[in-house]
Assembly symmetry: C2
Homo-oligomer: 336 residues x 2
C-alpha cells in the first residue's frame, strides 16, 4: 500500500515508522511528510533513508493511507486534501476526535461494521486509550458509573523536544545541582529534572486543564457512555515514554471480585496482568515502555466502599497511546 | 537544652540538624547517636564536627529532648530508656503512632492542653502530615466524609540510600541507556531512573500496601475522624525530596466555593496557596523541596459531583514531612 506519514520527523512519526516495520505492514511506498523546516532531512524505514517532503495539499497524490501526527492545526488544514486524494486518514491529533461522524477508534473496544468503510478515523488521546483499554473489558462484570483518575504522564506526550528537555535538564541537575534555567523557555515549562508538575495545558473556567477535559470527553465517547462521571487529574512526571494511571472505578453495584477482574484482564487482548502481591511486582513506567501491552495491577477493593475497585496501570504513550493504535486501525480497516 | 538525635547520620537526622540550627533551637549540648557502624564518623552542627556515638540504652543520661529517626525497631528498643532517663521523646518512626496514649502530633492541627505534659510524641508518616496539613483547615467550611488520594512520593522517604540510588541509576541511564542492573539489589527495588512504581512496602491480604494503610489510619487519628472513608494509592516517582499528592475530597454537603477554599488556605499557618490558573502555576516537587510550607493548588470542583473538591499539593518530605514537624513539636512542648 502507498502510505504517507504527516509529521514523520516527530516522536509519534518516528514510532509509526518502527511499528509499520515491526508489524510487517504491507507498505509499497512510504511518503515522509513534515513541515518546510524538516525538508532536507531523512527518516529511516526498513533500513532505507527516505527524504522528507513538505506536507502540502498536493502531497497526497496516489496515497492510500495517510497517518497524521503533526498537531490539530496541521490536521485541520491537510486532512481534507488527503481524503480528496482518495486516502483513508488515521489522525493522531485532537482535530476531529469529538466529531460525531468520526470514529474515535480503539480497535479492541469500539470498531465494528458501522465503522468499516470510513475514510477518517481519530486516534484518541494517549491517556484515554490506556485508561479505556484497562476498564472496557471490566464492563462485562458490572456497570461502571464513575472514575477517579490521577495520571503520571511521560515527557513523550509533549513530543521529542520535551523528551530531550527532560534528559538535558536531568543531566544538568546531576552535574550542577540545579538543572537548566527554565526561566527562558518559550514554552513556559517548569524545571523538569526530578520534578512533577500539573499538565502544561491551558486551564478552563472550571479549573480543569485541556488534557483532563480531553480524557473525560474521549473516555465517554470511546466507551459509548456519555453520562459516565469522571474526576481526572493530569500530571507530568519526570519519565520518558510511558504513562501510569491510578484508577478508582465506582460500579453501580458491588465491585466484581478481584479474581474475576484478574481473569478478565488476563483474557483481554492488549492487556497484561502484572499483579504479584507477594513479590511486590506491579506495572511500572519502565516495564511498559517500548511494549505493546497496557499493564494492569494493584487490583483491589476500596475497604470503605464495596462498589469501588482500584487499578494501577501503565502503557507506552508512543505505542498503544499513539502509533500502535493508529497502525492497528489501519490493519483492521484493510483486513478482509 | 541537652538534645539527642538517634539516627543522626540518616536523611531525617541530617535534616533535624539543619532545622534545629536554622530555627535557633536553644541547644546547649547535642548528642549524635547512631548504630555501631556509624561510630567514628561525625555530623556537623553550627559549623562544629560532632563525633557520632553508639545509640545504646545508657546513651541518654542528662538528655532533655531525644529525637528518634532510626526506624521502628530501634525506637521500640531505645525509647523506653530515653524516657526513663528523663528525656521527652519525639519519635519519627511508626513504632508508637497508633498507641492511643501517644499524641500523633501535627502542631498546626492537634496539639492542645491535653497533650502538653507528655513525654512521648509521635511524628506521623510524611504523606499523612502533608495531606492533613492541606485538608484540616477546610473542615471549617464543611464536613469531610471521604478522601481519594494518589501520591507522587520522593526517594527521600526511603532514606539517603534511596536518594543516592535514584541519582546513580539516573546518571547510568543517561550514560548507557539502561541504568544500573537492579536485579542484584538486596532491597528488591525496581529500576528507579525515569521510573514510577507502586510503593515498595509489603502488601496485605486486601491488596493495600503498608504505606497506604499508614496514611489512612494516621490521617483518621490526626484529624480525630475514625470513620473518615479513604482510598489511597501510594506511588514512588523519580524525584528526590518532596512528595506531591492528588487529593479528591468528598464533603457531606456541597463542597465549599473555590474562593472560600483559597481564602482558608491563604490564612492557614504552614500552607502556601500556589494556584494561578492563567499562568499555569501550581505546586511542583521542586518548588516544595527544601521549603517549610505545604503548597496547595489546582483547587477546583468535580464537574459531575457538587460535593467533591480537588486539590494538588506538595510538601518537603524531610522537612514538614519529618524533621520540621518534629522540631515544631519540641518548640511547642517547651514553650511557656
Amino acid at each position: 500500500m502507498r502510505v504517507a506519514i504527516v509529521g514523520a520527523t516527530g516522536a509519534v512519526g518516528n514510532e509509526l515508522l518502527r511499528v509499520l516495520e515491526q508489524r510487517h505492514f504491507p507498505v509499497r511506498d512510504l511518503r515522509a511528510l513534515a513541515s518546510a523546516r524538516s525538508v532536507g532531512s531523512t527518516v529511516t524505514f526498513r533500513g532505507e533513508a527516505i527524504a522528507v517532503r513538505e506536507a502540502t495539499p498536493d502531497a497526497f497524490d496516489g496515497v492510500e493511507i495517510a497517518f497524521f501526527s503533526a498537531g490539530a492545526t496541521r490536521s485541520r488544514a491537510l486532512v481534507p486534501a488527503a481524503r480528496a486524494a482518495g486516502a483513508v486518514v488515521i489522525d493522531n491529533s485532537s482535530a476531529f476526535r469529538m466529531d460525531p461522524d468520526v470514529p474515535l477508534a480503539v480497535p479492541e473496544i469500539n470498531l465494528g461494521p458501522a465503522e468499516r468503510d470510513r475514510t477518517l478515523y481519530s486516534v484518541p488521546n494517549c491517556t484515554a486509550i490506556i485508561l479505556t483499554m484497562a476498564i472496557a473489558p471490566l464492563r462485562a462484570l458490572g456497570t461502571i458509573e464513575r472514575l477517579v483518575v490521577s495520571t503520571y504522564q511521560s515527557a513523550s506526550g509533549g513530543g521529542a523536544g520535551m523528551m530531550r528537555y527532560l534528559e538535558s535538564d536531568t543531566q544538568a541537575y546531576l552535574t550542577n545541582g540545579s538543572g537548566i534555567d527554565a526561566g527562558d523557555r518559550p514554552d513556559g515549562l517548569p524545571p523538569y529534572a526530578f520534578n512533577c508538575f500539573s499538565h502544561n495545558t491551558a486551564i478552563d473556567d472550571h479549573g480543569q486543564n485541556e488534557e483532563e477535559a480531553k480524557v473525560i470527553a474521549e473516555t465517554r465517547k470511546i466507551l459509548g457512555q456519555p453520562n459516565l462521571r469522571a474526576n481526572v487529574t493530569c500530571v507530568r512526571v519526570p519519565v520518558l515514554r510511558a504513562h501510569c494511571e491510578s484508577v478508582c472505578i465506582e460500579f453501580a453495584d458491588a465491585a466484581p471480585a478481584v479474581e474475576a477482574v484478574r481473569d478478565v484482564i488476563q483474557r483481554a487482548p492488549g492487556l497484561r496482568l502484572v499483579d504479584d502481591r507477594a513479590a511486590n511486582q506491579f506495572p511500572t513506567t519502565r516495564s511498559a515502555a517500548n511494549g505493546d501491552d497496557v499493564l494492569v495491577g494493584r487490583i483491589r477493593h476500596d475497604r470503605d466502599d464495596p462498589r469501588v475497585l482500584n487499578l494501577w496501570i501503565a502503557g507506552d504513550q508512543l505505542r498503544k497511546g499513539a502509533a500502535l493504535n493508529a497502525v492497528q486501525i489501519a490493519e483492521w480497516r484493510f483486513s478482509a
